[in-house]
Amino acid sequence: MKHITDFTVVTNQRETDEFVVLTLQHPGELPSMVPGQFAEVRVDGAENAFLRRPLSIHDVDYSNNTIKLLIQEVGEGTRVLAKLKSGDQLNLVYPLGTGYTLPKSNRVLLVGGGCGVAPLLFLGRHFVENGIRPKFLIGGRTAATLIRLDAYEQLGDVYVTTEDGSAGHKGFVIHHPIMKTETPEFDHIYTCGPDAMMKVLAKYAGSRGITCQVSLENHMACGFGACLCCVTPTVDGHKCTCVDGPVFDSKYLKWEI
């Protein structure tokens, strides 16, 4: 069931120049959510952000009915959201979309890049709760673009790459040593980030019999299957990223990789 709810901002924690984490209080008991699902957030007081903005559920705390959103400031909508203050109201339509599915084995690798790390925290927590210790591989341009590593470290091993080598391994995620072994330490890849990164991972997985669930960031108008604006080509034809996704098995997508 989808909801439309005013949350209250509890904290707005600035991580870097680009990223903030909003903690939002739900008025009553939180409905249950699946990692990989997202919210369509109404941006009040923006001159040009007319449509809602899709943002992944970054983390959920059912015990105190709060959720977190990790927001990268890229345009007016995210900039206005990043200015919210404790006590402000924020209207969400949520939880939306089809999230990640649990793996058949325990050997999972969660790969994130940019704001694509957002859903992986909730996903990692979900794994831990199901007795699976996840490994995270997080890529960034520089050390300064890596965020909340400590939060991920509480859940599992964290591997890092940066393009300039200022933290972790130098290069893209695919260049990290754990990707290079003949026999990878994981059977399932869960990824969210730039398309280019996800395509490389899909190809890597495909050639090794590893499953790969990718989360797409197509432009959306509604977020719940009403407008058909957000489609992606799949083996079954056009599918809505917002309902049938955002998480897809990479093999289901018609990706040129």
Partner: protein
């Protein structure tokens, strides 16, 4: 309490608030947000004879207080509608209209004939104004003879409420409205989207895969309202107004301009409960203004 019931020919709406085709899915998508049965009616997604994959992604661009779409009538075809979707929605207790589109007159006819058989569908909205398909679509709605030809042909085979949806991308919309009225339309609805375009200055490419697309949302409201006002003066059949309606005030502007009912489109994306708010808002407006029937608002614009 004021009466909200309105008539579109033989069609009775419990209130004048409908939803616009292509923005409300098949109603089900909104069932978590609103009680579909409280709506005056819903117009489901554009339906064609054969299934269509629609246009390539990207199909959407945000613009100043509006959006461009280039969905291109993605749908499962009329048989897909009848077999897969109709059984799921036929028990909604509201008026479900099917928006019918086609590339040829024959396609329109065949589709309408099939929908004519569906008991729970009291009418169709003939879409001769879709700007997002290569063949047919808007082309039918921007020339008077072809608009009349489609309306005529469908009228012959379709026995229930025939609403014809007009394109705003014309010099004189009243001419086409009168033409389809003459061809037997039971009502006209307007406006469909304005043909527009957006460019990404970084890539120097069009934002939409189809280069141009259909503009909707509050930005088009002044144009839509003007056209509804013009058409309401030109025809005798009921007029269903739409284009940028996002509040009670907007809806009332359209009623005053001459609309008997209104449709809400893009605003559903920003507030999925907007339809209910507008229904309640109209009720309050009647109360505040001590009117007892929403029909009193239709065409009540004071121009001295």
């Amino acid at each position: 309490m004021g009466n909200l019931k309105v008539q579109l020919g033989e069609l009775t709406l419990s209130n004048p608030v409908m939803t616009a085709s292509g923005t409300f899915g098949y109603g089900e998508e909104y069932a978590d947000f609103v009680d579909i049965n409280t709506l005056g009616g819903i117009v489901v997604k554009g339906t064609t004879l054969h299934a269509r994959e629609g246009n390539a992604y990207p199909r959407m661009a945000e613009t100043a207080k509006g959006m461009l779409n280039a969905v291109g009538l993605q749908n499962k075809g009329v048989d897909g509608f009848i077999n897969e979707i109709y059984p799921r929605i036929k028990n909604f207790k509201t008026n479900i209209l099917v928006n019918v589109s086609g590339s040829t007159v024959e396609e329109y006819i065949e589709t309408a004939e099939k929908i004519n058989e569906l008991d729970a569908i009291p009418g169709i909205e003939l879409n001769i104004s879709c700007p997002n398909v290569k063949e047919g679509g808007m082309a039918f709605g921007t020339s008077c003879p072809s608009a009349i030809a489609v309306a005529n042909a469908v009228r012959r085979v379709y026995k229930k409420h025939l609403m014809v949806k007009l394109s705003p991308n014309v010099t004189d919309i009243t001419e086409i409205a009168k033409g389809v009225e003459g061809a037997g339309a039971d009502s006209v609805s307007l406006i469909n989207t304005l043909l527009g375009m957006a460019i990404d200055v970084n890539s120097r490419k069009p934002v939409l895969s189809t280069i141009t697309g259909g503009l909707s949302g509050p930005c088009i409201k002044p144009v839509a309202l003007r056209m509804v006002w013009q058409v309401a003066q030109a025809v005798n059949v009921p007029v269903v107004g739409m284009g940028g309606i996002a509040s009670t005030e907007d809806a009332i502007e359209f009623l005053l301009a001459g609309a008997s009912a209104i449709q809400i489109g893009t605003a559903n994306f920003i507030d999925p409960t907007i339809t209910i708010k507008v229904i309640n808002g109209i009720r309050e407006y009647l109360e505040i203004n001590q009117m007892d029937d929403v029909k009193q608002l239709t065409g009540a614009l004071i121009t001295r």
